[in-house]
């Protein structure tokens, strides 16, 4: 009975997992391999149902399930909401795009669903084993998705590189987990934090565990795979990589930092995060400056954003963690949006139509898409009144309140440099003339509507962040994290 109750509390993940199995069944019984509406809508319905359930969970007090292996409700639910929202909107913009590039296989949707189950587990993990299961379930599906366009060299290259390096980093991760178990005699995050003696074994294990996470969030110097993989993956799936998988990893990382490490060790681990954050922000932004391929630019931009997120983590305070959670929401909204518009532009001329020259004068064709891309890019650059500004403001404010003024200054400077490459896209959109003006096709309803919603939310949360911020702060003052944290 208890087990059933646990399953019930874990229902969002269960729904998605069942959805994945159903789509896989439909795939095996269907004649045609591509373009199945029933698979697509099964996927959407299961994701939407899970999203609804996890939104409901947001306001529940939360607790743990499966012998404290995973947490649910409250804070964990927020991570799930972001992940499911990202997945859902990536799939909304995918429909037309995948059809156009002739890769809308049924298996794609099953894989996305399984990857999402992995992310949901990762984002609610309260145990090293759960982290590993979640991370690997996610990663294995993503390796395959990265090579979706296997006919093209970039596609198979992306998949193979991702897999090789991913396996390599998983080795470190697993080794770190083993050492932690050796040090604490348990795999439960909270118990590790309570029972650790802070010896060499513990710190070596913790360091290797962090390496595994740094790889997934593409922090410098573990980021090398990111540009190649992002470029070789179908654009809307790249959006999924950049948002859902990164959010899941960050949420799990917050659990690890706030539970495994005792309060008094904050200065010690914070230093690592600070160094990596500085490297990530500087390198991500600087290299993004010189990219001529928009997708690659967005890949480096996503590296840079991981740096900003780590600034919030480095604070090591509830304020910092809340800021990171808010930033994840912001990042998801604007990045899915930006990749969505890029995907729409790409559809005109097929895969790889992403050089910045291709964008010349596009802003005046289908003006609504040009305006939306500008909104998303302004937001990514952190310009008010968009959500990206609030996100950046919160992480930097958290850092300053934790006396990390230098780190915040580096962050602000790096962010200032980033304006250059975001605005450059707009310069091409509006101020360059094209030799062969591209007539953009009529966009489908689904992609237009979902992008409009994302743009509206980008503005809305930029003007009225209050509700979400209050919710996040509530998790610490009385809600789920106060209950579980150390």
């Amino acid at each position: 009975m208890n087990y059933l109750q646990d399953l019930y509390n874990f229902i969002p993940s269960v729904v998605v997992a069942v959805g994945g199995l159903i789509t896989l069944l439909i795939v095996s019984f269907q004649e045609k391999s591509r373009g199945s509406a029933s698979i697509y809508w099964t996927t959407i319905i299961s994701l939407a149902a899970a999203l609804g359930l996890s939104i409901q969970d947001l306001f529940e007090p939360g607790g743990t399930v499966f012998s404290e292996m995973a947490s649910y409700g409250g804070y964990a639910a927020f991570g799930q909401v972001v992940i499911l929202f990202a997945t859902l909107f990536c799939l909304f913009v995918s429909r037309e795009y995948l059809e156009e590039i002739e890769h809308d296989f049924g298996e794609v949707y099953s894989l996305v669903l399984f990857a999402t189950v992995g992310m949901l587990s990762l984002a609610s993990a309260n145990d090293l084993v759960m982290i590993f299961i979640g991370l690997e379930t996610m990663s294995l599906s993503l390796y395959v998705l990265a090579g979706l366009i296997r006919e093209e060299k970039v596609g198979s290259e992306a998949s193979l590189k991702y897999f090789l390096l991913g396996a390599f980093s998983t080795g470190f991760l697993l080794y770190g987990m083993a050492l932690l178990y050796g040090a604490a005699g348990t795999t439960n995050l909270v118990e590790i934090g309570q029972q650790t003696d802070g010896g060499v074994l513990f710190w070596a294990g913790a360091g290797l565990l962090l390496v595994g996470f740094f790889f997934k969030i593409s922090a410098v110097p573990f980021h090398m795979w990111t540009p190649d993989v992002y470029q070789g993956t179908p654009t809307t799936i790249t959006a999924y990589f950049a948002t859902a998988s990164k959010s899941a990893t960050f949420v799990a990382l917050i659990f690890v930092l706030s539970r495994v490490f005792p309060q008094e060790t904050i200065p010690q681990w914070s230093e690592v995060i600070r160094v990596i954050a500085i490297l990530t922000m500087i390198l991500g932004n600087l290299v993004a400056l010189v990219q001529d391929n928009v997708k690659r630019m967005l890949a480096y931009s996503s590296i840079a954003h991981a740096g900003y997120l780590m600034v919030g983590l480095a604070a090591g305070t509830p304020e910092g963690y809340s800021a990171v959670m808010y930033y994840l929401l912001a990042y998801t909204l604007m990045n899915v949006g930006a990749f969505g518009v890029v995907a729409y532009y790409e559809m005109q001329h097929g895969f790889q139509y992403n050089e910045i020259e291709n964008y010349a004068g596009l802003g005046f064709e289908r003006p609504i898409f040009g305006v939306m891309l500008s909104i998303f890019l302004f937001s990514l650059a952190g310009i008010p009144p968009f959500v990206g500004f609030i996100g950046k403001y919160q992480v930097f404010a958290a850092a300053i309140n934790a006396d990390l003024v230098g780190l915040a200054i580096v962050g602000v400077l790096a962010s200032a440099a980033s304006v250059y490459y975001y605005l450059r896209v707009m310069v091409y959109l509006y101020m360059r003339e094209s030799d062969e003006p591209a007539a953009l096709r009529k966009p489908g309803f689904l992609i237009t509507a979902s992008l409009v919603i994302l743009a509206a939310l980008t503005i809305y949360f930029g003007i009225a962040p209050g509700g979400v911020t209050d919710l996040l702060n509530g998790f610490y003052s009385s809600g789920s994290l106060a209950l579980l944290g150390n």
């Binding site: 962090l210 110097p221 990596i276 209050g466």
Partner: protein
């Protein structure tokens, strides 16, 4: 939510919804732009419903009601500084809300007929709705920052609407001029906000007024002056009033709504809102009163010499606003608000009436062109008009009522409000603080009252009385009388509504002494005073009843004298000859008046051109050589590093793995050493 909250939210958001609907639909669909009936209906409802709701709110309030605060959401929260999107409904803000939505509603209705043939119909109504939204934010805001947002919002709408017919260069320039002059005032306002925040730590109006002792006296003076400079921009006073006459380039309903009835009174509203603050800085009050009185007489003299009927009204507006500032400076905050209300009625009516006249003159010109006659004339120039009362009876009657009201003929609206202002000035003249100066200002006010009656009768009589001049000026225009016609009822109904308001609106502020003379006890027949006494501070009247009667008699005498003089000079086609004889009699002075004191040329020659020259020679060089040089160098170096780092990305997987190992070493060494 209490019902009050819902009402307030609706009052604020309906105009916004109207703006968004018409704006977005109009932008995205060409066929929508042709659905003028629907567009007009939506935007009219978006103002009429808030008007109805504000009336309901008003009737649920008493003069003793506590202010109601409606908190929508937290807008900005930075450290200890927080600003909410929150509204304050009290006696003062509900009064302004009723004026804005009431006058606004009838001007919206009028615009349907006036703009019927304009291709930008949808855009016009979207802008009008946006204006109402911004104006309501201004008057209902419970904090100065939100008020400032509305303040900037109305400035933006004013800019957009003055330049509504932007294809003509003159209109665009007028729009820019208005915007830039307003920006000068806004800048001062903003610095005032900073000072207030620095000393009180809040921008909430109630809290600011409660923590005034935190500000040293010099700071108060500075803030008072800075806010007043802001007010001179928006409310067109010396030295920033030159934009308002040019703002008449916009469509006439805009002139009526924004540049006569509502937006230009926001400076007066601001100072009344802050009245508890202003009474503590009497030296600033003197400045306000003096600037107001001087603006009043200056603009009145210019109005006497202009031929463009809208320009006469524009200068008249500047002059009337000057009266309001005179009242504020004399401690008569209620008197100023009273004049805001009555002025909104009769000036909106006058502008709409002038619009009706211009409409028919344009029609006549158009018809003449249809006949193939090459007649070109300015449809706003009174020298081509005359005798229009025969053809446009409703316009004439409403125009005449409003003229009598603004001239201060009892018992019309303008009489009571203007009389109260002059009483307050005289009252301050008897006070111990700079009494002589206030007395002088009172005299200026009286002279201006005479001038007001004079220029208004000149305008009305030259337009509506005598004979129609157009056929006399152009031989080809013979018989053009047949094209003159009354405007449609969607235009005349608002005229009549406003005229009736101008007729009886003064009774909300009948002076108390009229009753107490007969009853020999304190009377409360002045409804407006009763209504506003809890929300505005102000000076007490120290005059005896006899003095007050005497002052009233004087002001009646002046108004009637001006009226008779005007009638003698300008009735029955004597206008042209009288203008010439006036020019002769006043010689150089008349020239200065008709040249508008050369203010534009002075600003151009002594401020704007030297500034441009300085920028061009010094700042531009500095910018290009030093600033751009630095910026480019930083950018170049940054890009250089970017290209260097780029080479790390070799594409070879084993190199990537090596980087990963380096990372492991970094992490572990940082953690374990």
């Amino acid at each position: 939510m209490a019902s009050t909250d819902i009402f307030v939210v609706l009052i604020i958001t309906l105009p916004l919804a109207g703006f968004l609907l018409n704006g977005i639909m109009g932008l995205s669909s060409r066929s929508f732009r042709e659905k003028k009936g629907f567009i007009g209906l939506v935007s009219n409802l978006a103002v009429f419903i808030p008007f109805g709701l504000s009336l309901l709110l008003f009737f649920n309030m008493t003069s003793g009601s506590e202010p109601v605060f409606v908190h929508l959401f937290n807008w900005i929260s930075v450290g200890s500084f927080g600003v909410d999107i929150a509204y304050q409904v009290d006696q003062l803000s509900i009064l302004m809300t009723m004026v804005v939505t009431g006058v606004g509603a009838f001007i919206h209705m009028y615009s349907i007929g006036y703009m019927k043939h304009d291709p930008g119909f949808w855009k016009f109504f979207a802008y009008l709705n946006l204006f109402i939204f911004a104006m309501l934010n201004l008057v209902l805001a419970d904090n100065l920052l939100l008020l400032f947002l509305g303040w900037e919002g109305v400035g933006l709408c004013s800019y957009l609407l003055i330049g509504f017919w932007y294809e003509e260069m003159a209109n665009s320039s007028a729009a820019k001029k208005a915007f830039i002059y307003n920006r000068i005032g806004d800048f001062a306002f903003l610095i005032g906000l900073f000072l207030i925040f620095k000393y009180t730590g809040t921008l909430n109006i109630t809290e600011v007024l409660q923590s005034l002792e935190a500000m040293p006296h010099e700071v108060k003076v500075a803030v008072g002056l800075l806010f007043f400079v802001g007010a001179t921009g928006k409310s067109a006073q010396i030295p920033l009033f030159v934009w308002l006459p040019d703002a008449m380039a916009g469509p006439t309903p805009v002139s009526a709504l924004i540049h006569a009835a509502t937006m230009v009174t926001s400076g007066i509203y601001l100072i009344s809102r802050m009245s508890a603050f202003y009474v503590q800085v009497p030296e600033v009050m003197i400045v306000i009163a003096a600037v107001g009185a001087l603006t009043a007489i200056m603009a009145a003299t210019i109005a006497l010499t202009q031929y463009d009927i809208k320009r006469v009204l524009a200068y008249s507006t500047v002059s009337q606003l000057g009266y309001m500032f005179l009242a504020l400076g004399a401690g008569g905050f209620t008197a100023a608000m009273f004049h805001v209300v009555t002025h909104a009625f009769f000036k909106a009516c006058l502008f709409l009436g002038s619009g009706s006249v211009i409409h028919t003159m344009e029609h006549a010109e158009h018809e003449l062109h249809e006949e193939g006659k090459d007649v070109h004339f300015d449809p706003q120039d009174m020298r081509y008009m005359g005798g229009l009362r025969k053809y446009m009876p409703s316009t004439y009657k409403t125009f005449m009522i409003s003229t009598l009201a603004i001239a201060g003929i009892p018992p019309l609206a303008g009489f009571f409000s203007k009389d109260e202002i002059l009483v307050m000035a005289f009252n301050s003249g008897l006070g111990e603080h700079a009494g002589a100066l206030y007395m002088a200002l009172w005299v200026i006010g009286m002279v201006t009252a005479l001038l007001t009656a004079l220029y208004m009768f000149r305008l009305t009589l030259r337009t509506f009385h005598g004979s129609f001049k157009l056929p006399q000026v152009f031989d080809e225009a013979k018989g053009s009388e047949q094209y003159l016609h009354e405007s449609p009822s969607s235009m005349t109904i608002p005229l009549w509504v406003l005229a009736v308001a101008a007729l009886v609106g003064g009774f909300i502020g009948v002076p108390n002494f009229i009753a107490s003379t007969f009853t020999h006890e304190a009377a409360h027949i002045n409804l407006l005073h009763d209504w506003l006494h809890t929300v505005t501070a102000g000076h007490k009247i120290v005059l005896s009843h006899a003095t007050e009667w005497l002052l009233m008699a004087i002001s009646i005498g002046v108004a009637v004298g001006g009226m008779i003089l005007g009638y003698k000079l300008f009735n029955k086609d004597r206008g042209e000859a009288s203008d010439e004889s006036l020019a002769e009699r006043f010689g150089v002075m008349y020239e200065i008046w008709s040249e508008k004191y050369n203010l534009d040329e002075i600003y151009e020659g002594y401020i704007s051109r030297p500034l441009v020259r300085f920028s061009d020679r010094v700042l531009a060089t500095f910018d290009m050589k030093v600033l751009d040089g630095t910026v480019n160098a930083v950018g170049g170096i940054t890009r250089l590093f970017g290209s260097l780092f780029r080479y790390l990305q070799t594409g070879v997987t084993s190199n990537y793995a090596l980087a990963l190992v380096v990372g492991v070493i970094i992490v572990l060494s940082l953690l374990m050493i």
